[in-house]
């Protein structure tokens, strides 16, 4: 059995459909990424899988436990890191970890040993007596992950693990995630950072407007959309973005003013249309460059393309 099996999972908040019949499987020992823009349904999905939000429809099995019938079994098998660093401010780093250990039923010796082991692993041992409120953002984030690992869960859920961190902090968390995965931990992470998803994950599900648009390995996704090309254009005068949006051959327009990056599915037709529109508006093209799309542009193309599945 796979680590996570999700079938037709649906979530309504009142009349609002937040997650729309999504299905996917996560294999043991893989890093599975949930990539999507803000409001796509990533956090809602993770909250449903952890028991922090009720499921409207569908089913989910986590580490073999039926989420609807045995939530306690699910909770014992998973560690969860939410998108906020929500440990207890007046407690020290050590006390926060010990409290997690207590709540997962570890005995006194086990929790002390595990806390020390994790503090060392996350480079926080010298901060063990520092109150959570006095730690830096990056240290807080690492401690939150450590707290989620106190009971040696089989699966770790990470909701936007590097949100708000600087480059150094982000890289540190990425390395830790890779190391944890090497030790055998299955990781489910949500992110809106394309680079994070493509560089960390074994497989990625791209979610937009509550629906999974596509699932694949980073290589397959890149291959699948290898046809994506980007037209970089500049005009002699400013042009309204709306003038370019919706023209034939164009998937997405990025930029404002005189310079635009345009994701195209047919560069020749797109260029003809752009030139026609420029003439109509009385401006000329001053720069044109055609190149392959990078990960971010592939992502934008995927979520813009309604026919992708």
């Amino acid at each position: 059995m796979d680590a996570i099996i999700v079938e037709e999972l649906t979530k309504y908040y009142g009349n609002l459909l937040a997650v729309n019949k999504i299905s996917f499987r996560v294999k043991w020992r893989e890093i599975f990424g949930f990539l999507g823009p803000n409001g796509a349904g990533k956090t809602t999905t993770i909250r449903m899988l952890c028991g922090l939000a009720k499921i409207s429809n569908g089913s989910a099995y986590i580490a073999g436990c039926n989420l609807a019938k045995d939530l306690k079994c699910v909770k014992k098998s998973i560690g969860v890191v939410q998108d906020v660093s929500n440990l207890y401010y007046e407690l020290t780093a050590m006390d926060n970890l010990l409290f997690s250990g207590e709540m997962y039923g570890l005995n006194r010796k086990e929790r002390k040993e595990r806390a020390i082991e994790l503090l060392k692993f996350f480079g926080l041992f010298d901060k063990k007596d520092v109150k959570f409120k006095h730690l830096s953002k990056g240290q807080k984030r690492r401690l939150v992950i450590a707290a989620a690992l106190m009971h040696k869960p089989k699966i770790l859920f990470l909701d936007e693990p590097t949100i708000g961190l600087d480059v150094r902090g982000r890289r540190m968390i990425w390395n830790l995630i890779k190391e944890l995965n090497k030790k055998g931990l299955t990781i489910f992470l949500t992110t809106h950072n394309i680079y994070e998803a493509f560089s960390l994950c074994n497989r990625i599900a791209i979610i937009n407007k509550g629906k999974i648009v596509t699932i694949g390995t980073p290589e397959v996704l890149k291959e699948k959309f290898s046809g994506s090309e980007v037209l970089e254009v500049a005009f002699t005068r400013e042009l309204d973005k709306k003038d370019l949006t919706g023209l034939s051959g164009i998937v997405k327009v990025i930029g404002t003013g005189r310079s635009f990056k345009i994701i195209v599915n047919d560069p020749i037709i797109a260029l003809e249309e752009i030139a026609k529109k420029a003439r109509l508006r009385g401006v000329s093209l001053s720069y044109i460059n055609l190149r392959g799309a990078d990960a971010e542009e592939i992502f934008l193309r995927i979520i813009s393309d309604k026919n992708v599945g």
Partner: protein, 245 residues
Amino acid sequence: MIKMLDELKKAFFIAKKDLKEYYFKPPTISWGIMFPIVFVFAFLIREGNKLWLIPGLLTLSIFFGTTSMSAASIIFERRMESFDRLLLFPISYYGIALGKTLSSFFFGLLSSAITLATIWILFPVPIHNILLLTICIIGSALQFSSIGVLLSFAVKDPMQSMTVFNSIRFPIIFLSNMIIPIKKLPAYMLLVPLAIPVTYSVESIRYSLLGTYDIVPPTISITIIFASYLAFLYITGLLIRKNIP
């Protein structure tokens, strides 16, 4: 049985954590300890029937001590999203509710001890039945903590919690026989204090301190105190489940 012990143990861990985290939060100190002491001074320094007032003032200190702690611990955690952490642990919603009432309970005991000592210094009063007084203080602290916890989960917007809390707590001071004798109320108003659980704590504490009660006999009061504690705890568990979106 093992499952129940496990839940109890975890509830105690939550209480221990809360006490470390929220003991010195300004609202806990100001509303839970300072406010009752100010009340004690205000009422005991003036002329009048002080003996009758003392049980009410003691109850008031337990009431404000426990409910201030519940407000601080739950509302603060809900605002900071750290309450979600408790929901992620393998413990039932009733276990969480129990843990939260226990931390408020211990703080209520502390608050009542400080008030009792203050009263004792200002106005040494003989205690009618010390064992009964202990039971009544424990029962009242449990009952009030469950009221505080229930209210903290019922408040929709944590930012307005203190306004909501005080708009409920202040009328209770005047309607539960704490500082205004309910005997003085018109007959048609008598149902109001009888519908307020706090009245039974005031009555039982008054009996255990002075050996007299106004309307409700202590056996009935004590039964209602413990029954209402269990009922509020149960409703809180349901409310936590209901609050999950």
